[in-house]
Amino acid sequence: MTSASQSAPGRYSAIERLRAKARRVRALIVKESRQMLRDPSSVAIGIVLPVILILLFGFGLSLDVKNVPLAVVLEDSSYDAGELIGSFQLSSYFRPQITHSMPAAQALMIEGHVDGIVRIPQDFARRVSAGDAEIQVLVHGGDANRARIIQGYVAGAVATWSARQAAEGKAVVAEPVGVQTRLWFNDANDSHYFLVPGLIVLVMTLIGGLLTAMVMAREWERGTLEALFVTPVRSDEILLGKTIPYFLLGMIGLLLCVLSAKYLFHVPLRGTFTVLLAASTLYVLVALGIGLLISSWVKNQLVASQLTMLATFMPAFMLSGFLFDLRSMPTAVRLITYGLPARYYVALLQTVFLAGDVWWVLIPNAAVLATMAVLLALGSRAATRKQLS
């Protein structure tokens, strides 16, 4: 291209063209930023909304099972039975309520006052000395996940009791094999550790998509984009001018989310902040790109924001691995999840927050996000061709 720089008058050199391009993009960015800052709704979506959502959901969503209301049907008033109940009463997992008949306990469960019933039959103490005692556990199976955890805790409380009996020198037969569990990255088994990073994904998906979807569609609707088309700016410059201010706004929202995760919900950040920032940059770009593509496709604010909601938020909630394990989904559904950017960002965030900089997980996921960002940029450039409809 060196020959071009000394070309005939009237033609511009590559450097000059680039400089002109940069000037146009800068002018657009200045214009967009002013417009953005003057419009309270975009600042509200970009900064206020993420904070409200992360607070609301961070406090509101929890899968921890604690203080389970439990009816204990005590048909045996012996010392052994009392001891066993003691281990339920001491545990922070249960809030036992003693009843003396099964029908009373069942009524409590049907009315929704207790989540489970532990029945200690009449002959409990006698059968403990005979070595074949039994207690019955009845759980409300509606919430199956919770029910399973409750069953596990009850088994744990009984095991604690058995161990104490054995320690006191009583003849208690233990199981041949016991299981010792360790939960890596989350010793305390606090569900916030994985819910809060997942919520950041959810919030950023919505914010990024919504910001650009509403803004671009508005320009299409009002015809202001057509006014821009008659100026020398090119479509990629328009897109850059739009994206950069909203990208910065989205990053501010994201930073606020990360800060509240770390300092409010005490989720440990075991990876480095730079990696977190790099991964998030990619994702915010992807989310903005989705909004751009949708809005330049439907050119209508209402449809654009509804589509953004349907296409990003619900799938990110259900199909990203934020709550539900991806490996257990049927193949057809799993194939859908591979097309969702949220899936990769969930993997990135959960790893950076809880496990640290594990490159084996980070690089492939980041690579997919980067590819998606590039594809979305190309796609929205193609969709924003200078043409009138």
Partner: protein
């Protein structure tokens, strides 16, 4: 007097018909109202489960004995666990979990068989990837049940006495503890809320923006009739959507329906009335369609996440629990689940029905007041 009533009803029917035509006139709009709930019901029905059917795991067997192999065979034969690696040393353990190759590692110590044979209790260690601690806990509970089966067999083969205390488990309403049974009935309300509320919020805002609302006000329609004409079409759409999800749950996922359809639909009517009432109030408050859109988004998000669909309401701090009192979805999910799984009747559901009725009454009254008093 009676003819007045009759005319009012006729006018409402006419307006409802006009609204339905406006909403359903083009094919794309019809599709956009009917297809999403059914597709979402199908896809999320498969996705939204805490149950696991594919757990990749690694083994660090330092004993390599008959007993340890027997235990591991139990895991491999469960159909849930897939062995992805046989580790040689504890040093490899971290790597396989860090890279997410395995969800958990089962570690069997050198003295496993010796302790078993000596009648001492042996320990199996399970190290799980806690990046999603709920998944990890579920997977370890599966390991527990495989070990329990191994224990039972070991005792039988070696004629050992049973454990002193045996726990027998039973679950009501969902004997196999499948999360799908819990999720799908909950989705009946969730998947209809979004579009029902938005549709209502938009419908008035659009007329207001286009100036056709003023025209409606000068017709013989009374404010109440206009409201009813706006509310009924959205409720009909909601009922159709809910039916779609219900059919997916019953016909596709074959989740047994324990209650009566009459009870379920009564509950749904209350729910839709409340949802539509909120939508109408939003559109009365909003000046433009864009505002109506934004307001309904701002409400739908917390409504759908803080509804008890995926995480229990009882886990929320009490302040947030008070907030959910105004969330119609919370009651709809409870109604759908209890009717669907427990088969309860309306008498048990009064606790859900009256708040819905109250929300509907307040929002509809406020909306109709605002419609008549906000004429410029």
């Amino acid at each position: 007097m009676r003819s007045n009533m009759l005319f009012a009803i006729l006018r409402i029917i006419a307006l409802t018909r006009k609204e339905l035509l406006a909403v359903l006139k083009d094919r794309r709009a019809r599709m956009s109202l009917l297809v999403p709930p059914i597709v979402q019901g199908l896809v999320f029905g498969y996705a939204a489960t805490y149950d696991l059917n594919h757990v990749p795991y690694a083994v660090l067997d330092q004993n390599r004995s008959v007993a340890s192999r027997q235990l591991l065979a139990g895991l491999d034969g469960s159909g849930v666990f897939q062995r992805v690696a046989d580790l040689r040393s504890p040093a490899d353990l971290m790597d396989v979990i860090d890279r997410q190759r395995a969800l958990l590692v089962v570690q069997i110590d050198q003295d496993f068989e010796r302790r078993l044979a000596a009648g001492q209790s042996a320990v199996v260690q399970v190290i799980a990837d806690g990046r999603n601690s709920n998944t990890a806990a579920t997977a370890t509970s599966y390991v527990n049940s495989v070990v329990a089966a191994f224990n039972a067999r070991w005792r039988r083969d070696h004629s050992l006495p049973g454990p002193t205390v045996q726990v027998t488990n039973r679950a009501w309403f969902n004997p196999n503890l499948e999360t799908r049974w819990y999720m799908l009935p909950g989705m009946i309300g969730t998947l209809t809320l979004i579009q029902t509320m938005m549709l209502t919020a938009m419908s008035v805002a659009r007329e207001r923006e286009q100036g056709t609302f003023d025209q409606l006000l000068v017709t013989p329609f009374r404010p109440f009739e206009i409201m009813a004409g706006k509310a009924l079409p959205s409720m009909l759409v909601g009922l159709v959507q809910a039916t779609g999800v219900l059919l997916v749950a019953q016909l596709w996922f074959r989740i047994p329906f324990a209650g009566s359809l009459f009870t379920l639909y009564t509950g749904l009517l209350f729910f839709l009335l409340a949802a539509v009432g909120i939508g109408l109030l939003l559109s009365a408050v909003a000046a433009t369609m864009q505002q109506a859109m934004l307001y309904s988004l701002l409400l739908i998000l917390p409504f759908s996440l803080l509804s008890g669909l995926t995480t229990p309401l009882s886990n929320m701090p009490s302040l947030l629990q008070y907030f959910t009192a105004i969330n119609p979805l919370r009651y709809a999910i409870d109604i759908a689940r209890r009717v669907y799984l427990e088969g309860v009747g309306l008498n048990v559901l009064t606790g859900d029905l009256w708040p819905l009725a109250l929300i509907a009454a307040i929002t509809l009254t406020a909306a109709s007041w605002m419609f008549t008093h906000r004429m410029q």
